[in-house]
Symmetry: C2
């Protein structure tokens, strides 16, 4: 998407045609710094230190990491070493595993003389595919947004969408998932205004979603996570769209902590609540998301401390609680399917239910659960 009028992806081939450039997301939103990855080690470091984050972008970065490794040494042993090193950077990231599982056997069957070229081609292919998936998610979402916008009273000045966390282009190669819908609505001429949940504890909304929208020029307001209920109660939200980390077969949606509270408020006030997701995040083995999806508990420090830019312009961290306090930090929650109006996928829009999902992904209908 655009940064001050210039289109960007979150990762791209450098003009030297061999290294990969990324936006260093650890510096956002206070500094925009492009970092050039010149080796497999650079790629591994970028993933492990979260200079790149978001499942699809991690996969794409790993793909370029393999290509950089092949450029240095296209041997079988180096291919093995590169894949092992990259996989170890974020051991639980599904897309990382998926990307490497696609690349490694392909390159193993390619002669070492052709491996470098093939590795770069695969990395480009993985990036381009992600862009198409996310574009398609937004394209299908646009039909729903346009319909809701057209139902608003004539003379309405804006179409208000509330989103939580960052499901934007920074988490993918381009477009994002939830934000893909918002970008496409905006580009289609719908006067979108976005309520951006700050998304404590890590503030991905206040930092990354706000930065994306500001950079692309889309009207927005950052709000505290407490505010969405009041806004919905008073007719100031036309629709909610969030991303998801994992969608259960029954349509239950696991996403950043706090999503469930917004879905409750949307339901209580008749506000449509949609979730945007690429097909690969559907967990077909998981029959009941609320009961079955394990929720990661992260360190208390994320709750007790907040980082940002101080008056001197430096990034610093401040402690908001008294010394010695106890804190608890669950990172995700699960929104029951009954609160979800529908799902936006790259194959179309469906109900948040097994039947809805199978209508778009019939190939999973007969699988052995």
């Amino acid at each position: 998407m655009k940064i001050n009028g210039v289109p960007y992806r979150s990762i791209w081939l450098n003009k030297n045609a061999w290294s990969a450039d990324i936006i260093d997301q650890t510096r956002l939103p206070h500094e925009f710094v492009v970092k050039t990855l010149q080796s497999m080690q650079d790629a591994a470091e970028a993933i492990s230190t979260m200079r790149v984050r978001g499942a699809p972008l991690i996969g794409a970065t790993a793909a370029y990491g393999v290509a950089l490794a092949m450029r240095e040494d296209a041997s079988d042993s180096n291919l093995q070493l590169a894949c092992e090193t990259l996989l170890a950077t974020r051991p639980t990231a599904v897309n990382l595993r998926w990307a490497l599982a696609r690349i490694q056997p392909d390159l193993a069957e390619t002669s070492s003389g052709a491996r470098v070229e093939r590795a770069y081609a695969l990395a480009a292919e993985i990036c381009d595919e992600d862009v198409v998936i996310n574009y398609d998610i937004g394209r299908h979402a646009l039909t729903v947004i346009r319909e809701l916008w057209q139902k608003k009273p004539a003379g309405s000045e804006a179409f208000h969408i509330l989103t939580h966390c960052n499901a934007g282009w920074l988490a993918t190669v381009d477009w994002g998932t939830a934000l893909s819908a918002i970008y496409q609505a905006w580009d289609d001429g719908i006067p979108v205004h976005v309520w951006v949940d700050e998304t404590r504890p890590r503030n991905q909304g206040a930092a990354l979603t706000a930065w994306e929208l500001l950079s692309h020029g889309i009207p927005h307001d950052v709000i505290v996570d407490n505010a969405g209920g009041h806004l919905m109660q008073h007719g100031q939200v036309d629709m909610c769209i969030t991303g998801t980390d994992r969608t259960a077969r029954n349509g239950d949606v696991c996403n950043k902590i706090g999503t469930y509270l917004k879905a409750l408020a949307a339901h209580d006030n008749g506000v449509p609540f949609y979730v945007a997701l690429p097909g690969p995040t559907i967990d077909w083995q998981m029959d009941d998301g609320v009961k079955g999806i394990p929720i990661e508990r992260r360190e208390a420090l994320e709750v007790t401390h907040v980082s940002g830019k101080n008056a001197a312009g430096k990034v610093d961290s401040v402690q908001i609680t008294p010394d010695g306090v106890s804190a608890c930090n669950y990172a995700f929650d699960v929104t029951p399917a009954r609160l979800v109006t529908g799902l936006f996928t790259e194959r179309g829009v469906c109900a948040a239910s097994e039947a809805g999902l199978l209508s778009l992904y019939p190939e999973y209908g007969d699988m052995d659960k």
Copy 2:
């Protein structure tokens, strides 16, 4: 309540028997500083700079401010000047107006020779009355908590109460409202554990409620405002108790932004949701809280910046959003009475409805709405 085993009020007569001591709440939770108010100007400054906050405590501080003024000059003109000066410190504070309206005519009718003694007696009376009201709120709440605790399976290790913002002794002279219930349950031997919503944007939960509980020795965990829904969904909350700034005649409850979201989650999961309030915060003229109570919109800076203690131990503020972002900051929301299990008042426990409130306050039954 106790600070490291020593009982405190939030305001008390200094051992010199004429000045008033307060806990400087602008320094909490990072420093515990007692400040001695030696003049009416000291009292006015403490209120306007929020060294003291919370409606009942502001009223009590103003009462001591008048006493300090009388000590210097017990003339009619100085009485008038003191009341005007103190009233101007926080023009919209209901309790400030109420305390001064009670003191000024009383002292005006007292001979100037007896005014100093009478002024100190009135200040002490206002403080003591507040303590009794809050104690009674907690005493009635305790019957409900005890009943819920006794219904938990034998062998349960803790009774988990979630609270939002700070309705503690720091906002009153002692006990608090919602926290009065928690202190009394704890003192009664119920193994309370408190989930403390941090309460963005001003973090009164993370800063003040956490400090109160820590100081009194009550087990607690600070959580982000996003977390309560997940906890309730998984049986980790036995009860919610919050305070309120204004309760409508129909039982709708206006409280710090985000309260409504927690009430929705409580309702969705069958968790009892109670609100603690002193009778004077009931607005008998307000028939419909959701529709009628105006919601203050405060400055965006509270959303975009967070203050806390930096690594050097100094209180500092950091900006969490990118430069140039737009933010919106509603300070309160209204929880519809249908989501409130009951109200804890100084006269007893009642349903959140006009009939419920009138059962405890029958004198308002015939009033001209």
